[in-house]
Symmetry: C3
Amino acid sequence: MTENAKTALTPATHTTPPAKFSHGVKKGNILQVAGQVGFLPAVEGQAPTPAGPTLREQTLQTFANVKAILEEGGATWDDVMMMRVYLTDVDHFAEMNKIYNEYFEEQGLTAPAAARTTVYVGLPKGLLIEIDALAVLG
Amino acid sequence: MTENAKTALTPATHTTPPAKFSHGVKKGNILQVAGQVGFLPAVEGQAPTPAGPTLREQTLQTFANVKAILEEGGATWDDVMMMRVYLTDVDHFAEMNKIYNEYFEEQGLTAPAAARTTVYVGLPKGLLIEIDALAVLG
Amino acid sequence: MTENAKTALTPATHTTPPAKFSHGVKKGNILQVAGQVGFLPAVEGQAPTPAGPTLREQTLQTFANVKAILEEGGATWDDVMMMRVYLTDVDHFAEMNKIYNEYFEEQGLTAPAAARTTVYVGLPKGLLIEIDALAVLG
């Protein structure tokens, strides 16, 4: 086991993934966060539950879920190179940007903001947003 | 030419890409696998042919195609950090997860499973799944 | 501030991002280009304007926009590992490939072509293509 070994990043707050994948992995200075959605912290014996029906509730919870994985790997938002934002509705773009800006203002970044791609896809029923992230540490 | 030079990964089994891109590339310790679909091994003079019409057939063939590229670059599933799974139908999620779990159980991973994002998009007619992968070696 | 510090890549030609993200970022030897579309070079006081209504016009402008970010980070097309191409219409695949091939022939690559994934998603009204890119510098 070296410093470069691949490790899984599994915050205690997270629901169990629905398949054999990790919420995040880190190897060397690369940290990859799996697609996160707006699920509330896991409650044992309860199915994953979105933070609410609105874009704002789900987006803020999704950010919290991404951040928990970054922190589990010793990273911060400042280390994030790329955010991939998946929305289900083009009409959500302006509101998502507003929430995005407010959130990152509050986070007090000290490095330039990450790059980002936003596209419009299908997601499981009830979910309005999914985000994954690539970070480079160090 | 140094150890860090960018090299193309082109398994003999693979059909020629439909444009000027590589099935996989490796540079330094980073290996990127292009979007793979369920095409059977190439037969000269024959158009690319999916392994079958079912999600199971196409998913297993897609895994084989990704794996061939990883191996061409001296990598294994254990080196994969991120799998991006593109499905065409939300109703395929549960079945895909079942196939995904069975497949990776059989592969006998010794490192934590990769992170993953699954979204629902359009794909060329007849194709039900596409997967790409990012690996970090070493 | 070390050689590894994260820097934003902001070509003078580019329109201001619609939210708190960077058109490109570089950290160590990793360079990530945000999703680019076919917007013409920014004109102060004017809203972002696509290069034209056709796939050809938008694709070539998108390439130019990606390239400007690569160059801002001291990279070239040869350093690109992965291109993610988002189209809105499966029927655009053949034409996009033709434009893709012509463009990269003209660029005179000296390294193997990047890997690529193409999927079909929704994009804001009037946009036919979006591309992002991951590069590893040598």
